[in-house]
Point group: C2
């Protein structure tokens, strides 16, 4: 595990997704955070809306995999990763770059997920 | 080469860096674009400042390599890549995620390069 708290948060996030561990994911967020996934949709604001979002996200079996080093610039951590959602008869793969912006306590205050139709495929 | 104009711009950008081809790089930008590299530094605004920046960047021998798929969300293209700068006696490697934001003509109006000390190493 990394000693850099922002990289550690990313590692815990990926692990939390793979474990469908809602508490682990939510513990990374500040109470007044926003989540925009994908970028271009209406951001979800606050812990209740974020909880609802991740409850939905982990309702299917998810595998998440970091696909390269976490890039750190000031309060931002950006990282390439892939998501596989197993719906039983079919699976969906999405290539994503997430941008986490942290507050001074290293809690995520803004998450933006960059992906679109070019980045998702059913199999 | 990709048919998506934003992905094509990224491919041409990487190629332009490898070829030290200033014209190819600058042709991707709108006249009033901004370049913030790395994020957290003062953005360079306008073609003169951007030309100066890339003249400096390609003054050493650069190799750039796309390290995963280009993520497209609305007007944004984000992509993980690596840069190797050859200074003769030493080389510097940097892992970067760039965010290009395009105008309606698919010219870059904003470039942000996310990387920091965790992402660069001399060898």
């Amino acid at each position: 595990m990394s000693q850099n708290p922002k990289i550690l948060a990313v590692e815990n996030y990926i692990q939390g997704l793979c474990e469908s561990n809602l508490d682990k994911i939510l513990s990374l967020y500040a109470d007044d955070a926003t989540v925009e996934d994908p970028v271009g949709t209406e951001p979800r604001k606050g812990m209740a809306a974020i909880t609802e979002f991740y409850n939905m996200a982990i309702s299917s079996k998810i595998t998440a995999k970091l696909e390269g080093p976490v890039r750190i610039a000031g309060p931002h951590a950006l990282f390439p990763f892939s998501i596989t959602m197993d719906f039983g008869e079919s699976t969906m793969n999405i290539d994503v770059i997430d941008q986490f912006t942290f507050n001074d306590d290293n809690k995520i205050i803004s998450m933006k997920a960059f992906w679109g139709e070019e980045n998702s495929r059913m199999s």
